[in-house]
Amino acid sequence: MVTAYRPATLQEALSMLKETDGIPLSGGTDLMVRLRAAPGTPARFSRPLVYVGSLPELLAVEHSEGGSWSIGAGVPLSDLLKLKGLPEALGAAIREIGSPAIRNTATLGGNICNASPAADSLPALLCLNASARIAGPGGERLQSLEDFITGPGKTALKSGELLVSILIPPAPPMKLFYRKIGTRRANALSKLSVLGMVKIENDTVKDLRLAVGAAAPKVVRIPEAEKSCIGRSVSQVAADHHTLLSMYREKVRPITDQRSTAGYRERTALRLIEEFLTKELSP
């Protein structure tokens, strides 16, 4: 049997999570599939479930005048797509997650906490320098998403803690480059994805962010590589892309699984990074 709780308040949820060592459940689109032992068998839960999908704190969305966002971890993805002014990178990533039916129930918090190397929201959120607002027995804490994800399927959430919302700081308008390679053109899990954002003024790179999904245990983002582009001209960056690529080659460490091979992932990731650095930068 599965024991499930449906707390009415965040406080109640936190105490239930702590007391029962429960698993927070919201849309369930990852959890239910991941915990199914074999085709056709019911999902097996070693721990109780705590349904957090109706907690007001997890459903709240705030957009400040300064341009920052606070997005409740339990908001369905399709609702996010209806928000005006949602950062373009996040919208582009969400549109490629699953099918309309999956997006109607899957949540941003779930995509993050499932911590799959192929989670499509993560490259976008990392490039947006998002952070996680976490509630726990000892109160609230903030942690950058970069540090929040610690490995495949692993997060920095401690026992009794819950991801409440995702904070996205204001970002200048930037040109977006997004390539997701899936098993098919829609409703597909990523074999690989590359997301780049760049701000160019007078042919000079003012800001550049680049993340690679499904190519390593965690999303790959290399601040030194990004910084080295800033202040340089577009053609300088393009000319020197081999140096940058070698930095990424160090960090791109994909695996072979049922969706693709390590060789394919590595090679294609580097090619797409090259495309971003050489072709997409020019206006």
Partner: protein, 766 residues
């Protein structure tokens, strides 16, 4: 055939059952909720080979909600699924476990969850046996026998002339070996059956299935009751493609047996994983072909060896072996042909019927080799095909001669007239372009695979409307629409007034299975004959009413009309009503029987099929050298269909079949390790989505087929084979390297570019 212009046949019409389907009003088996209904769920072996030592039910029966557990001993009959000899597949395992998806026990419970929990709680003891997972292991010396009779399921030879001698003397010879993977049907609706005890000693089974009479016969046999006690109703069926036969029988038997034991309705609705693991796949294959030709490109001989991996049970393997055998040499005039075709048992999910039925495998191999031969000869690949194409009066590989309805040359010529798509400027040198061709043939209807009879009824009511019934099923292919058009055409009534009934085994004649692209050809002919009989009766009545000879009357738009004076007309509803009151028959059962196959069983020389569909395809693609992504720029699919009944339906069949062929050639692959399918879900098994749709354009050749209604012949299966083959040729053309294994995935493409195997666009630049 009627001597007058066709008014409804040949017209673009909407599917007669389309609106209900696209608006969600159509009900499927799993939509039915009956009072007291139980849910059935099978416990599967979970390992590919072993000895079943025993199943203890106690723990399962303790689970709240579990009502009953069935094991093999609880089935009253022979515990058998198969529809063909060697009848080797049990419903529930008894001794040997032969594949991981094998059902060992069946749990019924008040809820689906309880049934699953019950299945998990069963104590199933299996002693492991090392599985045999490749055809080479199965055929190896001293290999363990998967079945009593050994590991060869079925093997046949086709011998025409002396291929060895001709090859030895041929100036140009090419040889290669090709392989294809298993493919899942991936229909939207997984297999579902609902058994309802009638309280009158009968039982009704509502089934998502392809061949309801297979279910009736095998359910009755396994319950040890006369067939007439079982009524099978085909529910709306969300796709089948050959897949909902053996497995629909399996779950139908289990549901019916449990329903009789409990006296309650029992529903079995497979989930996707069960569907992929526990129902038949398309055979994986290894095919070696040697082709000999003259320097001018005239093929003199082909020698072909086909090995099909049939998995754990025979299913339709014997017929797939024959179909592959007969089609392997391709749609060409070849004086000397030798083919050996063999299906082999392995400890994997069994293979059986799947749209194309052995033809996609051999067409890929044969058409790949045609391109290799063209390259060796320095000849245009399409020209090579044209030189060798079967023409009317030529003998096929089996020596059968068709004097008409051989439209391959016309199909090729249509392609020749179509200009290749423009290649856009690409200064980046990032993209590679390629074009591939394929030609193929596909035998229509059962032919050598058995009797080929369809019985159809046409019943006209007093209101002048018509009800058509026959034992062939609508599976999404549009056959109901075709039958409605034929009945409307013959009776001269509006299409909207014709209803084609659901198949239930109480009310229609057993028309054989709905397979082999036979519905329009053989089924349509039966409807046409039945409609004509009823029409004769109505003409007799109308002649009395119009006081003239019936030759002077024709029916059109729902009226009986006097030829000499079209203003003199009587509504058909009045004719039908008068016919009712005067005892003129308003219903007729007519049979259409295809000419029997006559051939030598050792050489397969003789007449095998009543007709062939001939096809020629061309596909132009663009490959991204950086990601291996393939974009299909154009896909032309020309088929000789004899006569188009419904152009919309034809396009649907060609586009749908092409997409299955494209998935087969590029995306879909069953990933199996140690006998367990690892990607039994649509996240990891890449069936194409709507966004992966390719731009298929249907081109029509109409060379009338004397054995089909209005000259029509089927087109359900052919596009699969032709598309897969021309895709592989297009990729090979773009990269300058021959791919000999399907699917050719984007990973394979990138690997070829990286390794330097590709002679075009390789990785010379880093």
């Amino acid at each position: 055939m009627t001597g007058k212009e066709l008014r409804i046949v040949g017209r673009r019409v909407r599917k007669v059952d389309g609106i209900e389907l696209v608006t969600g009003q159509a009900k499927f088996t799993a939509d039915m909720k009956l009072p007291g209904m139980l849910y059935g769920f099978a416990r599967r072996a979970g390992q590919p080979a072993g000895k079943l030592e025993g199943v203890k039910k106690d723990e399962a029966l303790k689970i709240p909600g579990v009502v009953d557990v069935l094991t093999a001993e609880d089935l009253p009959g022979p515990n058998l699924i198969g529809v063909l000899p060697p009848f080797d597949q049990p419903v529930l395992a008894t001794g040997d476990i032969r594949y991981a998806g094998e059902s060992v026990a069946f749990v019924v419970a008040e809820t689906r969850e309880a049934a699953k929990r019950g299945a998990a709680a069963l104590d199933v003891r299996i002693t492991e046996v090392p599985p045999i997972l490749t055809v080479d292991e199965a055929l190896g010396d001293g290999a363990r026998k998967i079945h009593e009779n050994g590991n060869i399921t079925f093997s046949r030879k086709l011998i025409k002339g002396d291929a060895d001698k001709a090859l030895a003397e041929a100036p140009v010879v090419v040889e290669n070996t090709y392989e294809t993977s298993f493919q899942d049907h991936a229909y939207l609706e997984p297999e579902t059956d609902l058994a309802v005890p009638g309280g009158d000693g009968r039982i009704t089974v509502y089934a998502s299935c392809q061949s309801p009479f297979h279910l009736r016969g095998l359910i009755a046999a396994n319950l040890s009751v006369p067939a007439g006690r079982v009524k099978v109703v085909q529910s709306n069926t969300g796709g089948s493609f050959g897949g909902k036969d053996d497995v629909a029988v399996e779950i139908g038997i289990l549901a019916a047996a449990a329903a009789l034991r409990t006296g309650r309705p029992v529903l079995v609705a497979h989930e996707r994983g069960e569907s992929m693991v526990g129902s038949n796949l398309r055979h994986a294959s290894r095919i070696t072909i040697t082709t000999g030709a003259t320097k001018e490109g005239k093929i003199v001989a082909r020698k072909i060896k086909i090995i099909l991996d049939g998995g754990a049970y025979a299913s339709e393997s014997p017929f797939v072996v024959m179909k592959a055998l007969i089609h392997a040499a391709g749609p060409y005039l070849i004086p000397h042909v030798f083919v050996e075709s063999t299906a082999v048992y392995t400890n994997k999910t069994y293979a059986g019927a799947f749209r194309g039925f052995g033809v996609p495998q051999v067409t890929f191999a044969s058409e790949s080799q045609m391109d290799e031969l063209a390259a060796k000869l320095g000849m245009n690949p399409l020209t090579l095909r044209k030189i060798n194409a079967l023409r009317p009066g030529d003998a096929t590989a089996t020596g059968q001669v068709f004097k008409q309805s051989v439209g391959l040359l016309q199909a090729i010529e249509i392609l020749e007239k179509e200009r290749l798509p423009e290649k856009p400027e690409d200064p980046s040198d990032r993209y590679l372009y390629g074009t591939g061709h394929s030609c193929m043939l596909q035998g229509i209807s059962n032919g050598a695979e058995g009797v080929d009879v369809v019985g159809a009824t046409v019943q006209v009511s007093q209101d002048g409307s018509a009800l058509v019934g026959l034992g062939l099923t609508e599976l999404g292919q549009g056959s109901r629409t075709v039958y409605a058009q034929i009945a409307a055409e013959e009776l001269g009534i509006p299409l909207e007034t014709v209803t084609v009934r659901q198949v239930d085994t109480d009310s229609v004649h057993d028309s054989g299975p709905t397979v082999a692209s036979r519905s329009t050809t053989v089924g349509g002919m039966a409807v046409l004959k039945a409609a004509r009989e009823v029409k004769e009766s109505l003409l007799d009545m109308a002649a009395l009413m119009l006081q003239t000879d019936k030759k002077e009357i024709y029916f059109q738009d729902g009226f009986a009309i006097l030829s000499k004076n079209p203003d003199a007309r009587i509504p058909l509803r009045e004719v039908a009503t008068a016919a009712y009151w005067t005892g003129h028959p308003l219903m007729h059962l007519a049979f259409s029987k295809a000419p029997e196959a006559k051939y030598d069983h050792d050489t397969h020389q003789g007449s095998i099929y009543i007709a062939y569909n001939f096809g020629a395809h061309r596909m132009s693609i663009r490959i991204d050298r950086w990601t291996g992504e393939v974009r299909v720029l154009e896909h032309l699919a020309a088929h000789d269909v004899g006569k188009v009944i419904n152009p919309v339906g034809l396009e649907g069949q060609v586009e749908g079949g092409s997409l299955i062929g494209y998935g087969y050639a590029h995306m879909e692959k069953i990933e199996e390790s140690r006998g367990i399918i690892r990607n039994a879900n649509f996240a990891d098994y890449a069936v194409p989505s709507i966004k992966d749709r390719i731009p298929t354009r249907t081109l029509v050749v109409e060379e009338a087929n004397p054995t089909g209604p209005y000259g029509a012949k089927g087109v359900g299966e052919p596009p699969v084979a032709a598309t897969a083959a021309c895709f592989a040729n297009a990729v090979s053309d773009a990269l300058g390297v021959r791919f000999t294994r399907l699917p050719v995935t984007r990973q394979d493409i990138l690997r070829a570019l990286q390794s330097g195997a590709a002679t075009h666009g390789g990785d010379k630049n880093g």
